[in-house]
Symmetry: C2
Subunit: 322 residues, 2 copies
């Protein structure tokens, strides 16, 4: 078994990342294919299966080389049944039997999981989590996602909605409207979109001079704001400080509840790096229970785009070990 490969698949709305990994989680080969969401997503799974077969042949191996497939997908997944719900981005409006379809096309055992949970497992296995069995992973991108691991296992909750860290309410009164229908969610202030919105609000409300005033507001990005903050732009620093305040509060409260060994921060926004991490840490320390402050560590994700395929492969390994 240890000479064979695991397959990790990270299914996204635009591209699908696929990798062959050995039993110890080292990537042997990885590649990407476009995700074809036409015809209500009916080609997606066939394309993944074909791509795995083609790559295997190119590498000179037969199907016996593969042990099983872990698949991360963008939406709530019922892991025991292998079904994803309402992944509208992929053209799957209702339930879609991910596991059954991919097993049918590949003849291999498949385990399907939510993509943010896969990223958390990846960071646990091979990334910033360093093998920690108590870990929270938060992904700061266009939105804010998360995965929570306790006793080495993903916390799914009763209806698969655990880990919705982006929808922790951090502004109980007067917060901005979130896509979920609530107001004041962490996602409205700690995502790339949220940072841009807060910056625009500050630009409109305050007279502080700022290099950002020379930009077209329509095209302002989170990276622009971080870049300006890094060179001391006061208004940009204020916007980043707001993000860090709310994120530090939410992560401290996750720490007060779960006392994980690591809280790993990933996603595009986390590329702002140590400047952001230090700002979050100072608020985390302010809001964390003393024992949590000294035992729960904040860390930047280290696997980047590979976290998803590595975590998916971990699931395949774990499934086969049982």
């Amino acid at each position: 078994m240890v000479d064979k490969w695991l397959v990790g698949v990270d299914l996204g709305g635009t591209t699908t990342k696929i990798a062959f990994l050995n039993w110890y989680g080292e990537i042997v080969h990885k590649w990407e294919i476009p995700t074809d969401v036409s015809d209500k997503g009916k080609h997606i799974i066939v394309h993944i299966a074909k791509s795995i077969d083609t790559m295997l042949a190119q590498l000179g191996h037969s199907k016996e080389m593969l042990l099983g497939i872990g698949l991360g997908a963008p939406g709530p997944v019922d892991v025991s049944r292998g079904i994803i719900f309402g992944a509208v981005n992929l053209g799957w409006e209702n339930e879609y039997p991910l596991k059954d379809m991919l097993e049918l096309e590949t003849g291999l055992p498949v385990i399907a999981e939510n993509d943010a949970n896969c990223a958390a497992l990846g960071e646990m296995w091979k990334g910033a989590g360093d093998g920690a069995k108590e870990l929270v992973c938060v992904t700061l991108g266009t939105g804010v996602g998360g995965g929570i691991i306790s006793n080495g296992h993903i916390v799914h909750g009763v209806n698969g909605a655990a880990g919705e860290i982006g929808h922790i309410t951090v502004i109980p009164q007067g917060g901005a409207l979130c896509n979920c229908g609530k107001t004041g969610c962490l996602e409205t202030v700690a995502s790339a979109t949220g940072l841009v919105r807060m910056t625009k609000e500050l630009l409109a409300k305050e007279d502080t001079p700022s290099s950002l005033r020379q930009k077209s507001l329509d095209k302002l990005t989170a990276k622009d704001v971080f870049d300006a903050a890094k060179v001391g732009d006061e208004l940009a620093e204020k916007a980043v400080d707001q993000l860090a305040f709310y994120l530090g509060l939410a992560l401290a409260n996750l720490g007060n509840s779960l006392n994980p060994e690591y809280i790993v921060i990933g996603g595009g926004v986390s590329k702002a790096g140590n400047m952001l991490l230090e700002a979050i840490k100072s608020y985390f320390d302010q809001f964390a229970f003393p024992t949590v402050r000294t035992s729960t560590k904040l860390a930047l994700a280290t696997l980047g785009n590979d976290a998803g395929v590595i975590g998916a492969a971990w699931l395949a390994k774990h499934l086969l070990q049982r």
Copy 2:
């Protein structure tokens, strides 16, 4: 094995509750002894062991009747080593080897756990949790405690500080000072002490007539405030509404993170009953992610003071099953 008994012990600062339970968690016999904290707590464990032996003899059974002991204690416990840290209330200032001492005195296998975690396990096994393997239990008393269960197991975190629900920050700026050294903790607004403090602040700040103004402020209790709120006292209603707001917010955020099947509310303050539960629910619904709102249920604890001994006995059963 199923004909024998489990022992549940709930060690408190004033009294210690002890019970014999059958394999199915039914209480066969229960009693209390005073907790003797003199001489730096050196008599506590001996008294528990003697009391178990005496009661067993009175009931006409020998030691063979007992399978093992679960022990809940008020403080952070390292379950794998069976050690409690800094239980100053009991006279144990540093580490105390709970498990080893009780095994030495009784000759039975012992498992030790934090008392709030035992209460959560009790409510899971025989109480409002109804067997749910995903459960959060919050205890509203003089302080606010909690226990979190995921996949049927207590979440301990890396340093045993998981479940510190009372120290979730709900007022990030300008909140009252908490015993833990932080400000704005849930405990400062959702405990009996917190409710009384908020009521006194309202009495000082507002002119609203209130029956509570006839009371001596020194002797005002949480029960007084709930009783006044129940008969429509506007100021008391406002104080209870503040408690419900912050508790609804914190519990919704736990729901957004963990999506448990039940969030069970226990402790003295929960005796305010359905009036309080409904008020908390309305804020919970406001702050919970849509899927969480429809799948995570709030419920009042049903076991009262028995939750601790029942949960402790569950641990003994679980230990013996492995």
